[in-house]
Protein backbone atom coordinates (compact mmCIF):
# COMPACT_ATOMS: atom_id res chain seq x y z
CA UNK A 1 0.00 0.00 0.00
CA UNK A 2 1.41 3.29 -1.11
CA UNK A 3 0.45 5.98 1.34
CA UNK A 4 2.39 8.76 -0.34
CA UNK A 5 -0.76 9.96 -2.08
CA UNK A 6 -2.72 10.52 1.13
CA UNK A 7 -0.02 12.23 3.20
CA UNK A 8 -0.22 15.65 1.50
CA UNK A 9 -3.86 15.83 2.61
CA UNK A 10 -3.59 14.15 6.02
CA UNK A 11 -0.51 16.02 7.24
CA UNK A 12 -1.88 19.58 7.02
CA UNK A 13 -5.17 18.41 8.56
CA UNK A 14 -3.24 16.86 11.44
CA UNK A 15 -1.01 19.86 12.02
CA UNK A 16 -3.99 22.18 11.67
CA UNK A 17 -5.80 20.25 14.41
CA UNK A 18 -2.69 20.34 16.59
CA UNK A 19 -2.31 24.07 16.20
CA UNK A 20 -5.94 24.55 17.23
CA UNK A 21 -5.09 22.58 20.35
CA UNK A 22 -2.13 24.83 21.13
CA UNK A 23 -3.97 28.05 20.31
CA UNK A 24 -2.69 29.75 23.46
CA UNK A 25 0.97 29.50 22.59
CA UNK A 26 2.23 31.66 19.74
CA UNK A 27 5.52 29.82 19.82
CA UNK A 28 3.89 26.40 19.45
CA UNK A 29 1.70 27.60 16.61
CA UNK A 30 4.63 29.08 14.72
CA UNK A 31 6.74 25.97 15.18
CA UNK A 32 3.85 23.77 14.10
CA UNK A 33 3.39 26.02 11.09
CA UNK A 34 6.97 25.59 9.91
CA UNK A 35 7.17 21.93 10.94
CA UNK A 36 3.84 21.03 9.38
CA UNK A 37 4.44 22.72 6.06
CA UNK A 38 7.99 21.38 6.02
CA UNK A 39 6.73 17.85 6.58
CA UNK A 40 4.14 18.40 3.88
CA UNK A 41 6.80 19.59 1.46
CA UNK A 42 8.80 16.41 2.06
CA UNK A 43 5.67 14.28 1.64
CA UNK A 44 4.82 15.97 -1.65
CA UNK A 45 8.35 15.43 -2.96
CA UNK A 46 8.04 11.76 -2.04
CA UNK A 47 4.75 11.62 -3.92
CA UNK A 48 6.35 13.23 -6.96
CA UNK A 49 9.13 10.62 -6.93
CA UNK A 50 6.63 7.77 -6.57
CA UNK A 51 4.51 9.17 -9.39
CA UNK A 52 7.57 9.66 -11.59
CA UNK A 53 8.39 6.01 -11.08
CA UNK A 54 4.92 4.43 -11.36
CA UNK A 55 3.05 6.87 -13.58
CA UNK A 56 -0.03 6.90 -11.35
CA UNK A 57 -0.43 6.42 -7.61
CA UNK A 58 -3.93 5.49 -6.49
CA UNK A 59 -5.42 4.95 -3.05
CA UNK A 60 -9.00 3.93 -2.31
CA UNK A 61 -9.94 5.78 0.86
CA UNK A 62 -11.44 3.59 3.57
CA UNK A 63 -10.92 0.54 1.33
CA UNK A 64 -14.13 1.32 -0.58
CA UNK A 65 -13.43 0.21 -4.13
CA UNK A 66 -13.65 2.62 -7.07
CA UNK A 67 -15.93 3.78 -8.62
CA UNK A 68 -18.10 3.65 -5.48
CA UNK A 69 -15.73 5.02 -2.88
CA UNK A 70 -13.56 8.08 -3.05
CA UNK A 71 -10.14 7.58 -4.59
CA UNK A 72 -7.08 9.72 -4.29
CA UNK A 73 -5.19 9.71 -7.57
CA UNK A 74 -1.86 11.24 -8.34
CA UNK A 75 -0.75 11.56 -11.92
CA UNK A 76 2.19 13.69 -12.97
CA UNK A 77 0.15 16.91 -13.19
CA UNK A 78 -1.37 16.42 -9.72
CA UNK A 79 2.01 15.48 -8.24
CA UNK A 80 3.65 18.59 -9.69
CA UNK A 81 0.85 20.74 -8.31
CA UNK A 82 1.11 19.35 -4.78
CA UNK A 83 4.88 19.85 -4.76
CA UNK A 84 4.30 23.48 -5.70
CA UNK A 85 1.72 23.71 -2.91
CA UNK A 86 4.33 22.32 -0.53
CA UNK A 87 6.91 24.88 -1.65
CA UNK A 88 4.56 27.84 -1.38
CA UNK A 89 3.10 26.62 1.93
CA UNK A 90 6.56 26.24 3.44
CA UNK A 91 7.70 29.63 2.10
CA UNK A 92 4.59 31.32 3.49
CA UNK A 93 4.99 29.67 6.89
CA UNK A 94 8.56 30.96 7.18
CA UNK A 95 7.56 34.39 5.94
CA UNK A 96 4.73 34.52 8.46
CA UNK A 97 7.22 34.22 11.32
CA UNK A 98 7.90 37.91 10.98
CA UNK A 99 5.17 39.04 8.65
CA UNK A 100 1.85 38.09 10.15
CA UNK A 101 1.54 39.64 13.61
CA UNK A 102 0.20 38.41 16.92
CA UNK A 103 -3.40 39.48 16.34
CA UNK A 104 -3.77 37.28 13.27
CA UNK A 105 -2.22 34.39 15.15
CA UNK A 106 -4.69 34.85 17.96
CA UNK A 107 -7.58 34.66 15.51
CA UNK A 108 -6.43 31.35 14.08
CA UNK A 109 -4.09 32.20 11.22
CA UNK A 110 -2.07 28.99 11.46
CA UNK A 111 -4.96 26.50 11.70
CA UNK A 112 -6.55 28.24 8.72
CA UNK A 113 -3.29 28.11 6.80
CA UNK A 114 -3.08 24.35 7.33
CA UNK A 115 -6.74 23.92 6.43
CA UNK A 116 -6.28 25.88 3.22
CA UNK A 117 -3.28 23.76 2.24
CA UNK A 118 -5.25 20.58 2.98
CA UNK A 119 -8.04 21.87 0.78
CA UNK A 120 -5.70 22.72 -2.08
CA UNK A 121 -3.93 19.37 -1.92
CA UNK A 122 -7.22 17.54 -1.62
CA UNK A 123 -8.52 19.27 -4.75
CA UNK A 124 -5.37 18.31 -6.67
CA UNK A 125 -5.41 14.68 -5.60
CA UNK A 126 -9.02 13.62 -5.51
CA UNK A 127 -10.36 11.41 -8.24
CA UNK A 128 -13.99 12.08 -7.45
CA UNK A 129 -15.84 15.05 -8.90
CA UNK A 130 -18.10 15.60 -5.91
CA UNK A 131 -15.14 15.30 -3.58
CA UNK A 132 -13.49 17.98 -5.69
CA UNK A 133 -16.47 20.21 -4.91
CA UNK A 134 -16.03 19.51 -1.19
CA UNK A 135 -12.35 20.46 -1.32
CA UNK A 136 -13.28 23.65 -3.17
CA UNK A 137 -15.62 24.49 -0.31
CA UNK A 138 -12.92 23.72 2.29
CA UNK A 139 -10.66 26.12 0.44
CA UNK A 140 -13.40 28.74 0.23
CA UNK A 141 -14.14 28.59 3.97
CA UNK A 142 -10.47 28.80 4.92
CA UNK A 143 -9.68 31.52 2.40
CA UNK A 144 -12.66 33.63 3.45
CA UNK A 145 -11.53 33.55 7.07
CA UNK A 146 -7.95 34.34 6.01
CA UNK A 147 -9.13 37.25 3.85
CA UNK A 148 -10.83 39.02 6.73
CA UNK A 149 -8.09 38.44 9.34
CA UNK A 150 -7.40 41.92 10.61
CA UNK A 151 -10.97 43.08 10.13
CA UNK A 152 -10.38 46.27 8.14
CA UNK A 153 -13.15 47.83 6.12
CA UNK A 154 -11.48 47.26 2.76
CA UNK A 155 -10.94 43.61 3.68
CA UNK A 156 -14.64 43.10 4.35
CA UNK A 157 -15.52 44.71 1.05
CA UNK A 158 -13.08 42.52 -0.86
CA UNK A 159 -14.10 39.40 1.01
CA UNK A 160 -17.79 39.87 0.29
CA UNK A 161 -17.18 40.16 -3.46
CA UNK A 162 -14.85 37.18 -3.27
CA UNK A 163 -17.28 34.95 -1.42
CA UNK A 164 -20.38 35.93 -3.38
CA UNK A 165 -18.84 35.16 -6.74
CA UNK A 166 -17.14 32.01 -5.54
CA UNK A 167 -20.36 30.72 -4.02
CA UNK A 168 -22.09 31.40 -7.33
CA UNK A 169 -19.45 29.39 -9.11
CA UNK A 170 -19.83 26.59 -6.56
CA UNK A 171 -23.53 26.47 -7.27
CA UNK A 172 -22.94 26.20 -11.00
CA UNK A 173 -20.34 23.52 -10.31
CA UNK A 174 -22.84 21.61 -8.19
CA UNK A 175 -25.48 21.86 -10.92
CA UNK A 176 -22.99 20.50 -13.42
CA UNK A 177 -22.16 17.61 -11.06
CA UNK A 178 -25.86 16.84 -10.73
CA UNK A 179 -26.31 16.74 -14.49
CA UNK A 180 -23.20 14.62 -14.90
CA UNK A 181 -24.47 12.16 -12.34
CA UNK A 182 -27.85 12.03 -14.04
CA UNK A 183 -26.19 11.28 -17.34
CA UNK A 184 -23.60 8.73 -16.27
CA UNK A 185 -24.69 7.50 -12.85
CA UNK A 186 -21.22 7.91 -11.35
CA UNK A 187 -19.12 10.56 -9.68
CA UNK A 188 -15.72 8.98 -10.12
CA UNK A 189 -13.91 11.11 -12.69
CA UNK A 190 -12.24 8.18 -14.41
CA UNK A 191 -15.57 6.38 -14.60
CA UNK A 192 -17.31 9.49 -15.96
CA UNK A 193 -14.59 9.79 -18.58
CA UNK A 194 -15.07 6.18 -19.63
CA UNK A 195 -18.88 6.37 -19.68
CA UNK A 196 -19.28 9.74 -21.42
CA UNK A 197 -17.50 8.33 -24.44
CA UNK A 198 -20.53 6.09 -24.99
CA UNK A 199 -23.23 8.72 -24.35
CA UNK A 200 -25.21 9.54 -27.48
CA UNK A 201 -26.71 12.86 -26.42
CA UNK A 202 -23.62 14.90 -27.22
CA UNK A 203 -25.59 18.15 -27.04
CA UNK A 204 -26.20 17.72 -23.32
CA UNK A 205 -22.57 16.73 -22.82
CA UNK A 206 -21.49 20.02 -24.36
CA UNK A 207 -23.88 21.94 -22.14
CA UNK A 208 -22.39 20.26 -19.08
CA UNK A 209 -18.91 20.99 -20.35
CA UNK A 210 -19.79 24.68 -20.60
CA UNK A 211 -21.18 24.65 -17.04
CA UNK A 212 -17.86 23.26 -15.81
CA UNK A 213 -16.06 25.87 -17.88
CA UNK A 214 -18.00 28.68 -16.20
CA UNK A 215 -17.63 27.19 -12.71
CA UNK A 216 -13.88 26.64 -12.98
CA UNK A 217 -13.47 29.82 -15.00
CA UNK A 218 -14.70 31.83 -12.01
CA UNK A 219 -12.32 29.96 -9.69
CA UNK A 220 -9.42 30.46 -12.07
CA UNK A 221 -10.31 34.13 -12.65
CA UNK A 222 -10.54 33.62 -16.41
CA UNK A 223 -12.11 36.18 -18.74
CA UNK A 224 -14.94 37.25 -18.35
CA UNK A 225 -15.29 36.04 -14.75
CA UNK A 226 -12.17 37.57 -13.24
CA UNK A 227 -13.45 40.70 -11.52
CA UNK A 228 -13.55 39.27 -8.00
CA UNK A 229 -9.79 38.77 -7.97
CA UNK A 230 -8.46 42.34 -8.30
CA UNK A 231 -11.24 43.42 -5.91
CA UNK A 232 -10.00 41.24 -3.09
CA UNK A 233 -6.38 40.09 -3.43
CA UNK A 234 -4.80 43.38 -2.43
CA UNK A 235 -6.68 43.63 0.88
CA UNK A 236 -5.43 40.85 3.22
CA UNK A 237 -2.06 40.39 4.91
CA UNK A 238 0.78 40.03 2.41
CA UNK A 239 1.54 36.44 3.38
CA UNK A 240 -2.10 35.56 2.72
CA UNK A 241 -2.07 37.40 -0.61
CA UNK A 242 1.02 35.48 -1.66
CA UNK A 243 -0.54 32.18 -0.73
CA UNK A 244 -3.74 32.99 -2.62
CA UNK A 245 -1.88 34.37 -5.62
CA UNK A 246 0.30 31.30 -5.84
CA UNK A 247 -2.27 28.61 -5.29
CA UNK A 248 -5.98 29.39 -5.35
CA UNK A 249 -6.57 30.38 -8.96
CA UNK A 250 -4.29 27.57 -10.04
CA UNK A 251 -6.67 25.07 -8.46
CA UNK A 252 -9.27 26.37 -10.91
CA UNK A 253 -6.79 26.03 -13.77
CA UNK A 254 -5.92 22.52 -12.62
CA UNK A 255 -9.61 21.59 -12.56
CA UNK A 256 -9.96 22.90 -16.12
CA UNK A 257 -6.95 20.85 -17.21
CA UNK A 258 -8.33 17.76 -15.51
CA UNK A 259 -11.90 18.02 -16.76
CA UNK A 260 -11.11 19.11 -20.31
CA UNK A 261 -8.59 16.34 -20.89
CA UNK A 262 -10.09 13.44 -18.98
CA UNK A 263 -13.83 13.95 -19.36
CA UNK A 264 -14.68 16.35 -22.19
CA UNK A 265 -12.36 15.23 -24.91
CA UNK A 266 -14.85 14.27 -27.61
CA UNK A 267 -15.75 17.58 -29.21
CA UNK A 268 -12.39 19.25 -28.97
CA UNK A 269 -13.05 21.49 -31.98
CA UNK A 270 -15.94 23.15 -30.21
CA UNK A 271 -15.00 23.24 -26.53
CA UNK A 272 -11.33 24.01 -26.92
CA UNK A 273 -12.06 26.74 -29.50
CA UNK A 274 -14.06 28.49 -26.77
CA UNK A 275 -11.21 27.91 -24.34
CA UNK A 276 -8.87 29.59 -26.80
CA UNK A 277 -11.02 32.73 -26.93
CA UNK A 278 -11.25 32.70 -23.14
CA UNK A 279 -7.46 32.45 -22.99
CA UNK A 280 -6.93 35.40 -25.31
CA UNK A 281 -9.47 37.54 -23.45
CA UNK A 282 -7.92 36.64 -20.10
CA UNK A 283 -4.40 37.50 -21.20
CA UNK A 284 -5.42 40.83 -22.69
CA UNK A 285 -7.77 42.18 -20.01
CA UNK A 286 -5.41 41.16 -17.22
CA UNK A 287 -2.42 42.94 -18.62
CA UNK A 288 -4.40 46.07 -19.56
CA UNK A 289 -5.74 46.26 -16.01
CA UNK A 290 -2.21 45.96 -14.69
CA UNK A 291 -0.97 48.73 -16.96
CA UNK A 292 -3.64 51.09 -15.62
CA UNK A 293 -2.99 50.67 -11.89
CA UNK A 294 -0.51 52.21 -9.50
CA UNK A 295 -0.95 50.04 -6.42
CA UNK A 296 1.71 47.35 -6.01
CA UNK A 297 -0.54 44.43 -5.19
CA UNK A 298 -3.30 45.46 -7.59
CA UNK A 299 -0.83 45.38 -10.47
CA UNK A 300 0.32 41.95 -9.38
CA UNK A 301 -3.29 40.78 -9.04
CA UNK A 302 -4.12 41.80 -12.58
CA UNK A 303 -1.00 39.98 -13.73
CA UNK A 304 -2.26 36.78 -12.16
CA UNK A 305 -5.23 37.05 -14.51
CA UNK A 306 -3.18 37.66 -17.61
CA UNK A 307 -0.88 34.74 -16.74
CA UNK A 308 -3.87 32.46 -16.25
CA UNK A 309 -4.58 33.19 -19.91
CA UNK A 310 -1.28 31.62 -20.99
CA UNK A 311 -2.04 28.45 -19.03
CA UNK A 312 -5.52 28.14 -20.53
CA UNK A 313 -4.01 28.78 -23.96
CA UNK A 314 -1.80 25.76 -23.40
CA UNK A 315 -4.87 23.67 -22.64
CA UNK A 316 -6.92 25.13 -25.48
CA UNK A 317 -4.40 24.39 -28.22
CA UNK A 318 -4.54 20.77 -27.05
CA UNK A 319 -1.35 19.57 -28.72
CA UNK A 320 1.35 17.72 -26.76
CA UNK A 321 3.72 20.66 -26.89
CA UNK A 322 1.00 23.12 -25.83
CA UNK A 323 0.12 21.04 -22.78
CA UNK A 324 3.80 20.81 -21.88
CA UNK A 325 3.89 24.59 -22.12
CA UNK A 326 0.77 24.95 -19.99
CA UNK A 327 2.12 22.74 -17.23
CA UNK A 328 5.55 24.41 -17.40
CA UNK A 329 3.84 27.77 -17.21
CA UNK A 330 1.93 26.79 -14.07
CA UNK A 331 5.16 25.68 -12.38
CA UNK A 332 6.98 28.85 -13.29
CA UNK A 333 4.08 31.11 -12.48
CA UNK A 334 3.26 29.84 -8.98
CA UNK A 335 6.82 30.35 -7.77
CA UNK A 336 7.32 33.72 -9.42
CA UNK A 337 3.97 35.20 -8.49
CA UNK A 338 4.09 34.19 -4.83
CA UNK A 339 7.58 35.65 -4.67
CA UNK A 340 6.50 39.01 -6.09
CA UNK A 341 3.77 39.27 -3.49
CA UNK A 342 6.22 38.40 -0.72
CA UNK A 343 8.55 41.15 -1.95
CA UNK A 344 5.68 43.63 -1.91
CA UNK A 345 5.37 42.77 1.78
CA UNK A 346 8.99 43.68 2.43
CA UNK A 347 8.67 47.01 0.61
CA UNK A 348 5.46 47.65 2.56
CA UNK A 349 7.30 47.22 5.84
CA UNK A 350 9.99 49.60 4.58
CA UNK A 351 7.68 52.32 3.30
CA UNK A 352 4.36 51.74 5.01
CA UNK A 353 2.44 51.91 1.73
CA UNK A 354 1.59 49.92 -1.38
CA UNK A 355 1.09 53.02 -3.55
CA UNK A 356 3.82 53.18 -6.18
CA UNK A 357 3.77 56.97 -6.34
CA UNK A 358 4.66 57.32 -2.67
CA UNK A 359 7.54 54.87 -2.81
CA UNK A 360 11.00 55.19 -4.24
CA UNK A 361 14.70 55.00 -3.70
CA UNK A 362 14.83 51.44 -2.44
CA UNK A 363 17.57 50.50 -4.88
CA UNK A 364 19.77 53.14 -3.32
CA UNK A 365 19.27 51.93 0.24
CA UNK A 366 18.80 48.25 -0.39
CA UNK A 367 20.21 47.10 -3.76
CA UNK A 368 19.88 43.41 -2.88
CA UNK A 369 16.12 43.72 -2.65
CA UNK A 370 16.14 45.44 -6.03
CA UNK A 371 17.92 42.51 -7.60
CA UNK A 372 15.65 40.06 -5.80
CA UNK A 373 12.66 41.88 -7.30
CA UNK A 374 14.14 41.98 -10.80
CA UNK A 375 14.58 38.18 -10.93
CA UNK A 376 10.88 37.23 -10.64
CA UNK A 377 9.74 40.42 -12.40
CA UNK A 378 11.81 39.80 -15.51
CA UNK A 379 10.95 36.12 -15.35
CA UNK A 380 7.28 37.03 -15.38
CA UNK A 381 7.85 39.18 -18.44
CA UNK A 382 9.66 36.30 -20.15
CA UNK A 383 13.30 37.41 -20.19
CA UNK A 384 15.88 34.73 -20.89
CA UNK A 385 17.43 32.86 -19.17
CA UNK A 386 14.81 32.93 -16.40
CA UNK A 387 11.99 30.44 -15.99
CA UNK A 388 9.36 32.60 -17.68
CA UNK A 389 11.25 32.68 -20.97
CA UNK A 390 11.04 28.93 -21.48
CA UNK A 391 7.43 28.81 -20.33
CA UNK A 392 6.40 31.47 -22.85
CA UNK A 393 8.67 30.08 -25.54
CA UNK A 394 7.12 26.60 -25.39
CA UNK A 395 3.56 27.95 -25.48
CA UNK A 396 4.19 30.36 -28.32
CA UNK A 397 6.02 27.75 -30.32
CA UNK A 398 3.06 25.38 -29.78
CA UNK A 399 0.75 28.15 -30.97
CA UNK A 400 2.76 28.62 -34.17
CA UNK A 401 2.83 24.89 -34.81
CA UNK A 402 -0.94 24.74 -34.34
CA UNK A 403 -1.21 27.72 -36.75
CA UNK A 404 -3.21 29.76 -34.24
CA UNK A 405 -1.35 32.90 -35.25
CA UNK A 406 -3.76 35.43 -33.78
CA UNK A 407 -3.43 33.96 -30.27
CA UNK A 408 0.33 33.96 -30.67
CA UNK A 409 0.16 37.63 -31.60
CA UNK A 410 -1.95 38.37 -28.51
CA UNK A 411 0.44 36.40 -26.31
CA UNK A 412 3.45 38.32 -27.64
CA UNK A 413 1.81 41.71 -27.17
CA UNK A 414 0.78 40.73 -23.65
CA UNK A 415 4.37 39.68 -22.93
CA UNK A 416 5.55 43.13 -23.97
CA UNK A 417 2.93 44.87 -21.83
CA UNK A 418 3.91 42.65 -18.90
CA UNK A 419 7.45 43.88 -19.27
CA UNK A 420 6.11 47.44 -19.31
CA UNK A 421 4.25 47.13 -16.03
CA UNK A 422 7.09 45.26 -14.32
CA UNK A 423 9.45 48.03 -15.36
CA UNK A 424 6.89 50.49 -14.07
CA UNK A 425 7.07 48.91 -10.62
CA UNK A 426 10.84 48.77 -10.83
CA UNK A 427 11.13 52.41 -11.82
CA UNK A 428 8.64 53.69 -9.26
CA UNK A 429 9.55 51.61 -6.24
CA UNK A 430 13.24 50.98 -6.64
CA UNK A 431 14.80 53.38 -9.10
CA UNK A 432 13.31 56.86 -8.76
CA UNK A 433 14.24 59.05 -5.81
CA UNK A 434 12.09 59.09 -2.72
CA UNK A 435 9.28 61.56 -3.53
CA UNK A 436 9.37 64.79 -1.54
CA UNK A 437 6.92 65.35 1.25
CA UNK A 438 6.64 61.61 1.91
CA UNK A 439 8.33 59.97 4.82
CA UNK A 440 11.29 57.79 3.82
CA UNK A 441 12.30 54.51 5.40
CA UNK A 442 9.98 53.60 8.23
CA UNK A 443 11.64 50.33 9.12
CA UNK A 444 15.02 48.88 8.50
CA UNK A 445 14.33 45.38 7.22
CA UNK A 446 17.83 44.03 6.77
CA UNK A 447 18.20 42.79 10.34
CA UNK A 448 16.36 41.74 13.47
CA UNK A 449 13.03 39.87 13.43
CA UNK A 450 12.34 40.88 9.82
CA UNK A 451 15.04 38.49 8.66
CA UNK A 452 12.49 35.69 8.21
CA UNK A 453 10.88 37.60 5.37
CA UNK A 454 14.05 37.37 3.31
CA UNK A 455 14.59 33.64 3.44
CA UNK A 456 11.56 32.56 1.36
CA UNK A 457 12.13 35.41 -1.11
CA UNK A 458 15.71 34.33 -1.71
CA UNK A 459 14.67 30.67 -1.86
CA UNK A 460 11.99 31.31 -4.49
CA UNK A 461 14.23 33.61 -6.53
CA UNK A 462 16.87 30.88 -6.67
CA UNK A 463 14.25 28.42 -7.85
CA UNK A 464 13.28 30.81 -10.63
CA UNK A 465 16.89 30.95 -11.80
CA UNK A 466 17.30 27.19 -11.40
CA UNK A 467 14.24 26.44 -13.53
CA UNK A 468 15.65 28.73 -16.19
CA UNK A 469 19.19 27.37 -16.19
CA UNK A 470 18.49 23.69 -15.57
CA UNK A 471 15.07 23.42 -17.17
CA UNK A 472 15.57 19.94 -18.56
CA UNK A 473 14.20 17.87 -15.61
CA UNK A 474 11.28 20.29 -15.26
CA UNK A 475 10.62 19.95 -18.98
CA UNK A 476 10.72 16.16 -18.68
CA UNK A 477 8.15 16.24 -15.89
CA UNK A 478 5.90 18.56 -17.89
CA UNK A 479 6.33 16.29 -20.90
CA UNK A 480 5.29 13.24 -18.92
CA UNK A 481 2.23 14.99 -17.53
CA UNK A 482 1.25 16.17 -21.01
CA UNK A 483 1.51 12.62 -22.34
CA UNK A 484 -0.69 11.38 -19.52
CA UNK A 485 -3.22 14.15 -20.08
CA UNK A 486 -3.52 13.37 -23.77
CA UNK A 487 -4.02 9.67 -23.12
CA UNK A 488 -6.79 9.56 -20.50
CA UNK A 489 -7.09 5.79 -20.81
CA UNK A 490 -3.97 5.52 -18.60
CA UNK A 491 -5.71 7.45 -15.85
CA UNK A 492 -8.92 5.47 -16.24
CA UNK A 493 -7.05 2.20 -16.13
CA UNK A 494 -5.03 3.22 -13.08
CA UNK A 495 -8.20 4.09 -11.15
CA UNK A 496 -10.61 1.41 -12.30
CA UNK A 497 -8.12 -1.39 -12.82
CA UNK A 498 -8.17 -3.57 -15.89
CA UNK A 499 -11.90 -4.24 -15.79
CA UNK A 500 -12.59 -1.84 -18.68
Amino acid sequence: MNMSVALPVILPLFFGALSVMFWRSHFAQRSLGVLGTGAMLLATIWLLMETWEHGHVVMEMGSWPAPFGIVLVSDMLAAIMVVLTGIIGFATAIYSLSGIGKMSEKFGYYPLLHLLLAGVNGAFLTGDIFNLYVWFEVMLVASFALLILGGERSQMEGAIKYVTLNLLSSMIFLTAIGLTYGLTGTLNMADIGAKLATVEDTGLVTVIAMLYLVAFGVKAAAFPFFFWLPASYHTPKVAVSALFAGLLTKVGVYALFRVFTLIFNQEVDYTHEILLWVAAGTMLTGVLGAAAHYEFRRILSFHIISQIGYMIMGLALFTPLALVGGVFYIMHHIIVKANLFLISGITFVMKGTHELRQMGGIYRTNPILGVLFLIPALSLAGMPPLSGFFAKFIIIRAGIEAEAYWVVAVALVVGLLTLYSMIKIWAEVFWKAQPEGVEGEIHDVSSGPMIWMWIPVIMLAMMTIAIGLYGEPIYQMALMSAEQLLDPSQYIEAVLGVQE
Binding site: M1, M3, I10, L13, M21, W23, M59, G62
Partner: protein
Protein backbone atom coordinates in the same frame (compact mmCIF):
# COMPACT_ATOMS: atom_id res chain seq x y z
CA UNK B 1 -27.01 37.92 29.66
CA UNK B 2 -29.46 37.02 32.37
CA UNK B 3 -33.12 36.53 31.66
CA UNK B 4 -34.04 36.63 35.36
CA UNK B 5 -36.58 33.88 34.91
CA UNK B 6 -37.00 31.54 37.83
CA UNK B 7 -38.68 28.92 35.69
CA UNK B 8 -35.91 28.95 33.09
CA UNK B 9 -33.21 28.85 35.74
CA UNK B 10 -34.75 25.91 37.60
CA UNK B 11 -35.45 24.03 34.39
CA UNK B 12 -31.94 24.77 33.13
CA UNK B 13 -30.39 23.21 36.20
CA UNK B 14 -32.40 20.03 35.81
CA UNK B 15 -32.14 19.80 32.07
CA UNK B 16 -28.38 20.22 31.83
CA UNK B 17 -27.38 16.74 33.08
CA UNK B 18 -30.32 15.12 31.30
CA UNK B 19 -29.46 16.70 27.97
CA UNK B 20 -25.79 15.81 28.34
CA UNK B 21 -26.69 12.19 29.05
CA UNK B 22 -29.04 12.20 26.08
CA UNK B 23 -26.31 13.61 23.84
CA UNK B 24 -23.98 10.75 24.80
CA UNK B 25 -26.83 8.32 24.11
CA UNK B 26 -27.32 9.88 20.66
CA UNK B 27 -23.59 9.71 20.00
CA UNK B 28 -23.35 5.99 20.78
CA UNK B 29 -26.62 5.11 19.11
CA UNK B 30 -25.59 6.81 15.91
CA UNK B 31 -23.76 3.96 14.31
CA UNK B 32 -26.75 2.00 13.05
CA UNK B 33 -29.66 4.25 13.95
CA UNK B 34 -30.42 7.98 13.72
CA UNK B 35 -27.96 9.93 15.84
CA UNK B 36 -24.20 10.28 15.73
CA UNK B 37 -21.46 12.69 16.67
CA UNK B 38 -22.85 15.75 14.94
CA UNK B 39 -26.36 15.65 16.36
CA UNK B 40 -25.08 14.53 19.76
CA UNK B 41 -22.65 17.43 19.81
CA UNK B 42 -25.43 19.85 18.95
CA UNK B 43 -27.58 18.55 21.80
CA UNK B 44 -24.69 18.83 24.26
CA UNK B 45 -23.91 22.34 23.05
CA UNK B 46 -27.61 23.24 23.33
CA UNK B 47 -27.56 22.05 26.92
CA UNK B 48 -24.73 24.42 27.80
CA UNK B 49 -26.34 27.24 25.82
CA UNK B 50 -29.57 26.76 27.76
CA UNK B 51 -27.55 27.03 30.95
CA UNK B 52 -25.90 30.16 29.56
CA UNK B 53 -29.28 31.74 28.86
CA UNK B 54 -30.61 30.98 32.31
CA UNK B 55 -27.46 32.05 34.17
CA UNK B 56 -24.61 34.10 32.66
CA UNK B 57 -21.46 33.56 30.60
CA UNK B 58 -19.24 33.26 33.63
CA UNK B 59 -21.11 30.37 35.17
CA UNK B 60 -21.51 28.76 31.75
CA UNK B 61 -17.72 28.79 31.36
CA UNK B 62 -17.42 27.43 34.86
CA UNK B 63 -19.78 24.54 34.22
CA UNK B 64 -17.87 23.73 31.04
CA UNK B 65 -14.56 23.72 33.00
CA UNK B 66 -12.38 23.84 29.88
CA UNK B 67 -12.14 26.47 27.17
CA UNK B 68 -14.36 25.49 24.21
CA UNK B 69 -11.44 26.06 21.85
CA UNK B 70 -9.52 23.30 23.61
CA UNK B 71 -12.51 21.01 23.08
CA UNK B 72 -12.49 21.97 19.41
CA UNK B 73 -8.78 21.23 19.04
CA UNK B 74 -8.95 17.93 20.90
CA UNK B 75 -11.87 16.82 18.75
CA UNK B 76 -10.03 17.63 15.53
CA UNK B 77 -6.91 15.79 16.63
CA UNK B 78 -8.98 12.78 17.65
CA UNK B 79 -10.83 12.73 14.32
CA UNK B 80 -7.61 12.87 12.30
CA UNK B 81 -5.91 10.25 14.46
CA UNK B 82 -8.82 7.85 13.98
CA UNK B 83 -8.03 7.65 10.24
CA UNK B 84 -4.52 6.38 10.84
CA UNK B 85 -4.64 2.91 12.53
CA UNK B 86 -5.50 1.11 9.29
CA UNK B 87 -2.25 2.31 7.76
CA UNK B 88 -0.23 0.21 10.20
CA UNK B 89 -2.10 -2.86 9.01
CA UNK B 90 -1.26 -2.06 5.41
CA UNK B 91 -4.68 -0.68 4.55
CA UNK B 92 -5.53 2.77 3.16
CA UNK B 93 -6.30 5.77 5.32
CA UNK B 94 -9.80 5.91 6.78
CA UNK B 95 -10.19 2.12 6.70
CA UNK B 96 -12.28 1.26 9.75
CA UNK B 97 -10.84 -1.12 12.37
CA UNK B 98 -13.16 -3.19 14.55
CA UNK B 99 -12.68 -4.85 17.92
CA UNK B 100 -15.40 -7.19 19.14
CA UNK B 101 -15.57 -8.63 22.64
CA UNK B 102 -18.09 -9.73 25.25
CA UNK B 103 -18.36 -7.83 28.52
CA UNK B 104 -20.13 -9.23 31.58
CA UNK B 105 -23.00 -6.77 31.88
CA UNK B 106 -23.27 -5.20 28.45
CA UNK B 107 -23.14 -8.33 26.31
CA UNK B 108 -21.47 -8.17 22.89
CA UNK B 109 -19.65 -4.92 22.28
CA UNK B 110 -18.23 -3.67 19.01
CA UNK B 111 -15.70 -0.90 19.18
CA UNK B 112 -14.23 0.76 16.14
CA UNK B 113 -12.16 3.65 14.86
CA UNK B 114 -15.42 4.97 13.43
CA UNK B 115 -16.54 5.59 17.00
CA UNK B 116 -13.34 7.52 17.72
CA UNK B 117 -13.99 9.62 14.63
CA UNK B 118 -17.53 10.25 15.81
CA UNK B 119 -16.35 11.29 19.27
CA UNK B 120 -14.00 13.69 17.50
CA UNK B 121 -16.92 15.15 15.55
CA UNK B 122 -18.91 15.37 18.79
CA UNK B 123 -16.16 17.41 20.45
CA UNK B 124 -15.61 19.61 17.39
CA UNK B 125 -19.31 20.50 17.23
CA UNK B 126 -19.47 21.29 20.96
CA UNK B 127 -16.28 23.30 20.76
CA UNK B 128 -17.19 25.36 17.74
CA UNK B 129 -20.81 26.08 18.72
CA UNK B 130 -19.81 27.12 22.22
CA UNK B 131 -16.88 29.23 21.03
CA UNK B 132 -19.29 31.17 18.85
CA UNK B 133 -22.07 31.40 21.44
CA UNK B 134 -19.87 32.41 24.37
CA UNK B 135 -18.08 35.04 22.33
CA UNK B 136 -21.37 36.48 21.10
CA UNK B 137 -22.79 36.51 24.61
CA UNK B 138 -19.68 38.22 25.95
CA UNK B 139 -19.73 40.78 23.15
CA UNK B 140 -23.29 41.65 24.21
CA UNK B 141 -22.45 42.06 27.89
Amino acid sequence: MNMHSLILRTAGHFLLPLLLLFSVFLLLRGHDEPGGGFIGGLVAAAAIVLYLFSMDTESARKVLRVDPRDVLGAGMVLAVLSTIPGVFLGQPFFTAQWWEFTAPVFGDIKLSTVLIFDIGVYLVVIGSVLTIMLNLAEAED
